[in-house]
Amino acid sequence: MKMSISKSINRTDAKGKIWGETPYLGDIAFDNPLYVKTVRSNQSHARISAIHIPTLPEGYWVIDKSHIPGKNYMKTVVSDHPILAEDEVLYIGQPILLVAGPDREKVYGLSKEIRIDYEPLPAVYTLEESEKQGMVFTDYTLSKGNPVEAFSQAEKILQDEYSTGLQEHVYLEPQGMAAEFKEDTVFVYGSMQCPFYVEEALTEALNMPADKIRVIQTTTGGAFGGKEEFPSLIACHVAIATCVTGHPVILIYDRDEDILSTTKRHPSLVRYKVGLDKNNTLTVLDIDILYNAGAYAGISPVVLQRGIFSSTNVYNFQHIRVRGRNFRTHTVPSGAFRGFGAPQSIFAMEMLMHNIAISLGLEPIDFKMKHCLKQGDTSCTGGKIHDKIILPELLERALTLSEYRKKIQTHKPFTGIGLSLFLHGCGFTGNGEQTIRGKIILQKKGKDVLIKVSSVEMGQGADTILRKIVAHTLELPIHHVQCEVRDTGLIPDSGPTVASRTVMIVGGLLQKAAEEMKSRWDTEENLEISKVYHHPDFLVWDNDTFTGNAYPTYSWGVNVAEVAIDPISYAIQVKKITAVYDVGRAIDERTLRGQMEGGIVQGMGWATIEVMHADEGTLVQRTLTDYKIPTSTDIPDIVCDFIENPYEFGPFGAKCAGELPFTGPAPAIAAAVSNALGIPIKELPITPEKLLEMKNDED
């Protein structure tokens, strides 16, 4: 009998990484390489009036916008970020020039000697100020039912407001790229999530056809969305530098430069006007979502879409109007980050539900469950939920495991317990999967099988999981199944490694290919099977009106957080998180748990200690000395459980898992803090500074 797919195996990448044998970009040797240093804007908003470059020693270059063979923008959703600044800079840290040369010391010295004259322009730093000035990038509205009429019939109307702050990815390996010219082809190597995004950006920047460009992913030490669109920018930098100099070039950020200049999670502001009927049921919601996109729009429209489509979370409301807007500020651009706009709007919704329940004297669980989606209901975009919803079972398991009902009755002062319900839309938003049409190739050579996909291993376990899906289907030992190097010259485009789509979409295609391969295994020595993704027919989506199934399906979760607050310092200690999830089915329990525990810790960091803010466009927390992520001593007890709910179109029933765990901790911790101190929490991060101020204001 075959073993369950869920039974854990060793991660195929673990040994090399633990022993320090696996090479990263910085370990690769190039022939006579040049080192590249970026010269950046020190102004939030200014016109460049003059650039003074010192006399360059032989073999040293300064590269500017005029060296770009193609278009001077980084190709992404909105291609508005110049590769190197034109006449204007819009944020502190914006790349203006590149200095290249063989000696790092000299390159560094030259980059310091370059002087840039600016004429300052008016700058806008906050979401509120940007709204006042109407600096809007994107303005979306969706509605369901008849909100206007519903408000006129509401018994009670409430208004409320929630906000969240910046967050830095802090992947272990900072951003980096290298490039070299070989014959007539540009080779670009680096740490990335999306080799074909990088390739596309390079074709436009270099004005070269894709077949003259090879993008090769090097071992990627963490990404969390930070290596979704940003690497395209520095890939353009190194590719242009290699074209100009004729040498291999290396550009690796150090941590402080990475913090200063790379994308962050969108700060958010969510405003509610809601109506309740006489039974205290929420009948109508007007949700106004504002995201701070920073200086350029970039990928923000899609982040905002996920934000608004997730804004009603696990709840079914009859009448809704959701407006979502991205605003420009003269700060470092916001970008993709685990959860992709959903954690912000879900935090706001969970706290709204919690705070309304408390203000009505109701137990938040009962109030929340009364509004929960059921199979057959429609989402806020009017898409029918086809799959079975087991949220009540998840909740019951979480309540039992955490002893929530007992603890909420008996908690001591300065300790608290709180709960969150949440979901994550699996795969690309809207008809994204239909547009990408991810393609995979499975090759058989004798007894060995090769997986060809562009979905990358970035520390999350993708290689192990994809190989396991194929090996399990073919009933082969896993070492007979390998993954091809993510080299755009050798692999098909299975899509970017984003949106928690790798297992469900790409893994699903691999499973189908492996099943076909199995039926032909004995008769064919060598075999190549390719598969292209097709959306299930019953899913509908209209991208102009934002109606239909915003996602193929959803994964679900319940978190219970227990906190203790220090009565002297008001420091929050998260003591325990109980988490129960429906991710369809686990492909590998331990790897899945790794994702869940990592997501919980990262979500806890966002909710509590990860304080980052800018003072007039200058980040105040610029190093890891001042920007804190949780350490092993901060990690709470984590009880993590799963209830199987197989998805028909996922491999072995698997849905999405990577981003889901990030979303739950913040609202659960906020509810627990609120429970401990008896004050409503409406803002992330929840800092001791703010708590102490709130308590002092109370006294």
Binding site: G26, Y35, R104, E105, Y108, I252, Y253, D254, D256, E257, D566, P567, I568, S569, A571, Q573, I609, V611, V620, Q621, R622, T625, D626, K628, P630, T631, S632, T633, D634, P688, E689, L692, E693, N696
Partner: protein, 288 residues
């Protein structure tokens, strides 16, 4: 390139110190970070380095004539496992940085770095610790309070080295340590406090209170302490606001990347209140 001297003993080190303008480096856990320049580049020191971490004369922990002597090059991790180091001091040290950093960082380094957030300093101030500074010809003895004159500023002369740290072996039956950081491990201090007391028959016999990270140097209000010595412990609670008024002016925190002045001041208030109103109940008695 950075040049360095690696003397074989203290005599040689002091000779170099007399002849060359140089930067003494023991563990380097502060200096390397302060002078780091980024990927692939060596740190940028404007003077040659004088390595002192290995010098045998600076690595002692011993008791002599009423003092605990600690060599400045003793590692924080060595102090944590040494029986002579008071438990309450260990409590502070165990919350500093991380195990790898504590395996490099030295007590002398924490003193000479003279950061307002240096976590060994409140205890040393509270204990009236003294330092021995030596040059090739003389040595002098100076209270730690006089040695540290501001953030990153000390009385160490360019030909001197810190060669000994003297802590009176006075026993304090009551000890209290609190560090407030952004997180539980590897965190620079927002506020820290070391309180020591001896209570005899319900009266304050001796009392020491030192705050870190709330002023340019560690704060210890001797006026406040002296005003409480001889007082009955039972009255401290009702007199707390009066005591706070005496203490408060010396607490001058700032807003920075880690916290706010208001928060720091409020936490100082809470800590002092917690310490003084629980003096009778605090049972953290350390053993010699």
């Amino acid at each position: 390139m950075v040049n360095g001297y690696h003397p074989k003993d203290l005599i040689e080190a002091l000779k170099i110190r007399a002849e060359v303008s140089c930067i003494p480096l023991a563990g380097g856990t502060d200096l390397m970070v302060q002078n780091a320049r980024g990927t692939g580049l060596s740190p940028n020191f404007d003077k040659p380095l004088l390595f002192v971490g290995h010098l045998p004369e600076l690595r002692h922990i011993e008791k002599k004539e009423g003092f605990l002597h600690i060599g400045p090059s003793v590692l924080l991790s060595e102090m944590l496992s040494h029986p002579f180091i008071p438990e309450t001091f260990k409590k502070a040290i165990s919350q500093m940085a991380s195990p790898p950093t504590r395996n490099l960082a030295t007590l002398g380094g924490n003193i000479c770095n003279a950061s307002p957030a240096g976590d060994t300093l409140p205890f040393l101030y509270a204990m009236d610790a003294e330092l021995i500074l030596e040059n090739h010809a003389f040595d002098r003895r100076i209270p730690i309070e006089e040695f540290i004159c501001g953030p990153k500023q000390t009385e160490l002369k360019s030909d001197e080295l810190l060669t000994d740290i003297l802590i009176p072996t006075t026993l304090f039956p009551v000890s209290y340590y609190k560090k407030v950081g952004q997180r539980r491990g590897m965190s620079l201090t927002k506020v820290s406090f070391h309180g020591l007391a001896e209570i005899v028959d319900g009266y304050v016999e001796d009392l020491r209170m030192a705050f870190g990270s709330v002023a340019p140097t560690v704060v210890r209000s001797r006026d406040c302490e002296n005003s409480l010595i001889g007082e009955p412990v039972s009255t401290l609670k009702s007199r707390f606001n009066e005591i706070w008024e005496l203490y408060e002016p010396s607490i001058q925190p700032i807003d920075d990347a880690r916290s706010t002045a208001t928060y720091r001041k409020n936490v100082c208030y809470n800590i002092l209140k917690d310490f003084l109103t629980h003096l009778e109940n605090i049972k953290e008695i350390y053993n010699e």
